[in-house]
């Protein structure tokens, strides 16, 4: 290496000397060891709280609290001690800092080392890409009945209170209040709403029972004096959110509407975990899909429902087919024949089946569930804006590896040729 090269390297390291403690290899090893512990603990916990629970508690957090399993040796004593485990965001964030610091302070800024730097840059991109995916990826579902079109997605997790003005025959106006704003005691207003909404109670899961006629409701639904909560005499009990894969979380909201002349009444709204259209199966609770509220000559409907996203296109289900392994009930193939109806009167026919999703407008529609008897299909819809990052990162790492290999190869060949005896 020439003296100028050394000088440049020294300058670069000098400029970032304050990052030196973060660039420690020991820190890298500690973080990687902790990552292994995190993966081990989360895998154990997945059995107890399900994939979503483990993701939320250990990977999508800074610190997770773990209790030593009761069934392990000494569990009866150790189980009660809460053990903090560094979470995915903390370890991932620190790993990124560690790599970036090393990148800036330790590595030599020479052509010889470009390969190494590209490899590290690729790994940083992978980690950052994962962080962005975690933060921005959305998973939804779309259920379509045969012969019908649907133009919205419903999130698997999270609810919203939709207040819909259906008076105008040409278009409906939806005022959607996200779950995050539904805090007890909160008074909510919006220019499109002719009334204020006061949140009495809200929860992501509950047990509900139809109380005997004439009996009084106590607790959360005590104040309910309008709608299905009143007519079906419903009593509810708050429950912890269930993270297991077959969880059925019924979200609930008790809300009061008020306007200048006073209270319009208090309603109970329940969200069905599989979509509010399922309420129609129950005669008494059917109105949970749309509880009519009449105010100032307009008809509004209230519905606590899985968070919706409306699309600028619709998907029509033409037909479905499912095949099973012979003599079993194990599905072999689910297949949905659909037509995508776009805004500009363009259509696109597609066959969606296992491992062959439909991709459109940044979203991927995977075949998820199907009910041949009831003639409907359900797609799992994924939107991941950073889906290209892992591919780009792998390309960068590959170029880095190739560069490093070729550099050494050329150097080796040059060295060999210079050593070979002259005139041999």
């Amino acid at each position: 290496m020439s003296s100028t090269d050394h000088k440049d390297s020294y300058k670069a390291r000098n400029a970032f000397f304050w990052l030196a403690p973060l660039a420690s290899v020991r820190l890298t090893l500690v973080l990687l060891s902790l990552s292994m512990i995190l993966v081990f603990v989360a895998t154990l916990e997945q059995v107890r709280i399900g994939i979503r629970g483990a993701l939320s508690e250990y990977f999508e957090s800074l610190v997770g609290i773990w209790h030593y399993p009761e069934q392990f040796w000494g569990g009866e004593f150790l189980h009660h001690i809460p053990l903090p485990i560094p979470g995915g965001y903390l370890l991932g964030g620190l790993l990124i800092l560690n790599l970036v610091a090393a990148f800036l302070t330790r590595f030599q800024w020479t052509f010889k080392k470009v390969g190494i730097q590209l490899i590290h840059l690729g790994i940083i991109a992978l980690l950052v890409g994962q962080l962005v995916t975690q933060a921005t990826q959305e998973e939804s579902r779309m259920q379509i009945n045969k012969g019908e079109s649907v133009n919205y997605l419903e999130r698997f997790h999270g609810v919203e209170l939709a207040l819909i003005d259906v008076t105008d025959p040409e278009r409906e106006t939806v005022v959607a209040i996200p779950q995050e704003l539904l805090e007890e005691g909160q008074r909510l207003r919006h220019d499109s709403l002719p009334f204020d909404l006061i949140v009495k109670s809200f929860g992501v899961n509950c047990d509900f029972n139809v109380s005997p006629s004439g009996s009084t409701r106590e607790g959360l639904t005590e104040e309910v004096d309008r709608g299905v909560g009143l007519t079906a005499n419903l009593a509810i009990t708050d429950k912890e959110e269930d993270f297991s894969s077959d969880a059925m979380n019924f979200g609930y909201l008790v809300f009061e509407l008020t306007h200048k002349d006073g209270s319009l009444g208090t309603w109970l709204s329940l969200s069905h975990p599989a979509g509010n259209h399922w309420w129609k199966e129950s005669e008494k609770l059917a109105d949970f899909a749309f509880q009519p509220i009449r105010h100032e000559g307009r008809l509004w409907g209230a519905s606590l429902r899985p968070k919706r996203e409306y699309l600028p296109y619709s998907i029509e289900l033409l037909g479905i087919e499912n095949e099973f392994y012979q003599g079993t009930e194990i599905p072999f193939n689910f297949e949905s024949d659909v037509v995508l109806n776009m805004d500009d009167n363009q259509t696109r026919r597609a066959l969606v089946y296992m491992n062959t999703p439909l991709r459109h407008d940044g979203k991927t529609f995977y075949q998820y569930q199907m009910n041949n008897a009831a003639d409907y299909t359900v797609f799992q819809v994924i939107r991941n804006p950073s889906w290209l990052v892992p591919y780009l990162a792998c390309i960068i790492i590959s170029i880095g590896l190739l560069w490093q290999f070729l550099w050494h190869l050329v150097a080796f060949l040059q060295k060999n040729s210079s050593k070979s005896p002259k005139g041999a």
Binding site: N151, I164, V175, S215, R226
Partner: protein
């Protein structure tokens, strides 16, 4: 060896990474705000909108086939009932009139007997079939039923107005203005034509009616349907949507005795059962139709019960009022007045 100055590259990289992390931050914490947006029509039910007269208010217990339900605000409390019922199919005015006719003593109407009650009324650009029936006989308070039927394409919209005769008279103008103001949009979902309430039970036979007492009902109590079980049935509502139910029933024998009946009623308003020793906490003496009877009073946090039990000629007579505690307390005086007014026919 070619030399390259990497320091500029390193600075650039640092800036780029900082920008990437910062740009990620807002998307990590989504902006949670109330959103309003238009969508293509999805709602398939009927849409009914109206201008409500100032002295009218909506009933909270909208259910069954009703698209709207209202009462009239009076100084004595809410009175009368006005409804909006959409029928998916075309129904005849005779079918509709017969849903209500028996309730007020008309028996089964025929084309011929309906003709004098029927007229055509034009309100704005709409033509309504208009049927008015006045209560006949019974112990009622002179109720009047006004039925307005409007046909639009294959849809039929019924607006029943049930109230005391005088109230129907005074509110006729408001009722007409209300009908004229309504926006009626049929729903896509099928609505089966069915009576608003179960068909009334056959009236008690003359033998059963023998020895039935008479009584005075407070004028603002809304008369409900009597049946073979209920000799009288009334509802009272207030502005806040509270409701109480009043009934008069009669059964042979002592129906399990005083303690059993009291405990059954306590259970209905969410109170634990009592025993013989504590029974006097709920029961006091009262006189009904000049005879000694028991007055039962109990209230839970929001429900109350006032009942009188009279044992006469091997029969038990129950006069029972139950419902919202606040409203029941206000109506207690009316209830005691009703007990005072009970009178049995002389043999």
């Amino acid at each position: 060896m070619i030399l390259f100055r990497f320091s500029i590259f390193a600075q650039g990289l640092r800036v780029a990474l900082t920008a990437l992390i910062l740009s990620c931050t807002p998307s990590c914490s989504e902006n949670h705000a109330i959103e309003a947006y238009p969508i293509e029509p999805e709602y398939e039910g009927p849409v009914v909108a109206w201008d409500l007269p100032e002295n009218w208010a909506e009933n909270p217990d909208l259910s069954g086939p009703m698209a709207g339900s209202f009462h009239i605000k009076t100084e004595e409390g809410p009175k009368g009932r006005i409804g909006v019922m959409p029928f998916r199919e075309s129904v005849s005015i005779l079918e509709v009139a017969n849903m209500f006719a028996r309730e007020i003593g008309y028996g089964i109407l025929t084309e011929r007997s309906l003709a004098p009650l029927l007229e055509r009324k034009t309100l704005g650009d709409r033509v309504f079939e208009w049927v008015r029936m006045e209560e006949r006989g019974g112990t009622g308070t002179g109720r009047s039923i006004l039925l307005a039927l409007f046909r639009q394409d294959s849809e039929t919209w019924l607006f029943p107005f049930i109230a005391e005769k005088e109230l129907v008279e005074t509110e006729l103008e408001n009722f007409s203005a209300f009908l004229e103001s309504t926006v009626l949009r049929p729903g896509k979902a099928t609505i089966q034509a069915r009576p608003p309430e179960p068909a009334p039970s056959p009236p008690p036979s003359p033998a059963e009616l023998e020895g039935v007492p008479s009584w005075d009902v407070p004028s603002h109590w809304v008369t409900g349907k009597s049946s073979s079980m209920r000799l009288a049935s009334h509802k009272v509502y207030d502005e806040e949507g509270n409701e109480i139910d009043f009934s008069i029933t009669s059964f042979p024998g002592d129906v399990g005795g005083l303690l059993a009946n009291v405990n059954r009623w306590l259970g209905q308003i969410g109170l634990p059962p009592t025993d013989q020793e504590n029974l006097p906490n709920f029961v006091s003496r009262v006189e009904v139709a000049g005879l000694p009877a028991q007055l039962v009073e109990a209230s839970s946090e929001d429900q109350a019960l006032y009942a009188a039990i009279l044992f006469k000629d091997d029969r038990s007579w129950f006069f029972k009022m139950t419902g919202s505690a606040s409203l029941a307390a206000k109506e207690k005086e009316g209830f005691l007045h009703l007990l005072d007014s009970v009178s049995f026919p002389k043999p």
